[in-house]
Symmetry: C2
Subunit: 324 residues, 2 copies
Amino acid sequence: MSFAFNNPDKLSPATASRILEVAASMGYRPHPVARMLTQRHTMSIGVVTPQSLATAFANRFFGQLSEGIALVAEEAGYALAFIAPERGSLSAALDRATVDGLLAIGLPATYPEIDRLRSAGIPLVQVDSTALPDSPSIMVDDEGGAYSSAAHILDLGHRDVLTVVIAPAAPFPPGPNHGVGPDRLRGYQRAFVDRGLEFPRARIIEATPSIDGGARALTEAWAAGMRPTAVVAMSDAIAFGVMAGARSLGLRVPADLSIIGFDDVDMAVLTDPPLTTVNQPVRAKGEAAMRLLLDLVAHRDVDPLQVRTMPTRLIVRGSTGPPP
Amino acid sequence: MSFAFNNPDKLSPATASRILEVAASMGYRPHPVARMLTQRHTMSIGVVTPQSLATAFANRFFGQLSEGIALVAEEAGYALAFIAPERGSLSAALDRATVDGLLAIGLPATYPEIDRLRSAGIPLVQVDSTALPDSPSIMVDDEGGAYSSAAHILDLGHRDVLTVVIAPAAPFPPGPNHGVGPDRLRGYQRAFVDRGLEFPRARIIEATPSIDGGARALTEAWAAGMRPTAVVAMSDAIAFGVMAGARSLGLRVPADLSIIGFDDVDMAVLTDPPLTTVNQPVRAKGEAAMRLLLDLVAHRDVDPLQVRTMPTRLIVRGSTGPPP
DNA sequence: TTGTAAGCGTTATCAG
DNA sequence: CTGATAACGCTTACAA
């Protein structure tokens, strides 16, 4: 009888459709959980983020990444389940997850929670982190991109620059210790030292990667008496917020304040002024990661330890200029 | 023994932790699917969209809605699974879905596919549609919002206006027949007739709700010889695209072309010029819908047929002005 | 083609 | 507190 649902071809079409018809008329639907149990796969893959989902969705970067992820997941017939820490514990959420594979986005370098999962034999690929050394990663050249971004600002003549980094998600210690944070910070720093300048630690502040977070960061810095001529933001979402904050402070961009972001999210072209930023292939990154994961899930022959790095490049638009 | 995992309180702490320890050392993890089967709930709820997920994520509106949805889902300990048509069939995707409840976003008025699901007894709440008359809905005043948007344009003196509506997702017939489409269209129309004007059907074009879609719509209209002085878009994503398209056509906004959107997505303030649009409480809508669904899932006492309508309002910013 | 029974990995129940 | 046993609702192999 279950042939009707699963191998309709092994049955005479007449019988099969008759069964299906009766089933439909009785309102019968095979219990998907019981099905999973015997079939030993769920046809869904989990997208893991260390932040809350609400925080993740607040950032357009995550949306665009999901776009790429969803694109290839859908064409392969996989559904997407989003997994975020529940009541602070990613492990707990992971334990309930019924997925055939895991895509981990921007995992902190020290994340004991996920080890258990990996050891359970579920294929995993990382995006924007190499926290798990024995799982493959899809990265972009964060350090290089960050370098070119700070270099651009410095070469414009700015000397008092505020660096706004991405604040770690709730259960993690503050400081740029996860995902793209360390690499980008290193890039910024190198740009300074390359020019014989000191990278001013006191001018580094944290913000949650959202418009609100960026706006708050600038207004607080301002309130604290800082008067930078430029701000280098670790994400476009933050940069947009800084832009909004600058506006409410009565600052003109870039005449009074230059702003540079990171990601080159689709809205970056449309802001007033258009945002100078570092482009990374967000959607393509999501697609590549998902494709790799699907290969792993299907036991296709791929290097299970590969670390693939995609290029970044500076995009100069209107939000940066010489200091006042 | 499973007490250790599920009711640790019914066991002496010593025993419980001993069990957990041994389990961990053996790399044991309770099989989540088997667990679901006996516990008869999955602790996850499904977000259903009639479009492909990639399309949905391309629209910031969906991201902001998801933000609200995720916020309350997370605090209640529920995970989110996104369900989109797989190989054209929403039914197929729905059949595999292991969820305790369903949140349907913008379902077309005629959507036989979902009937089966509802009859399977899974709680369902609709957002932006009343396709299923015996399920509750969370709506916004689409007609009123649309009315005020077209009225604003008309009262500015525009007479040649292009209306860009949301194109239905792949398997559906073209025409504004699903989700918010009909209501908003009716609002536009009423604004015209109220002013003794004819609502020009020939000046209605469709676009996928994304920046690309909007840009394409304008450039194609232009190529077809249309020279509107204003465009009324059914979504901010489309309006942003129209803005980009206008720019590439060398048109100044609003001097040469006025543009008005719908949604008041977070980026609307930051564009150049800031977008005039219709505000709707996107995040709050997601929160309300999820809260209602959770009530239903928990058999809490709520009106299972309620239709709640949240307000919309015109926000005049810089992208609209008098005709040239 | 149809029917029967074993197994999937848990949780829950009921004696010991 | 421990140990055995019956569900949970399906798929699949095997027998009829």
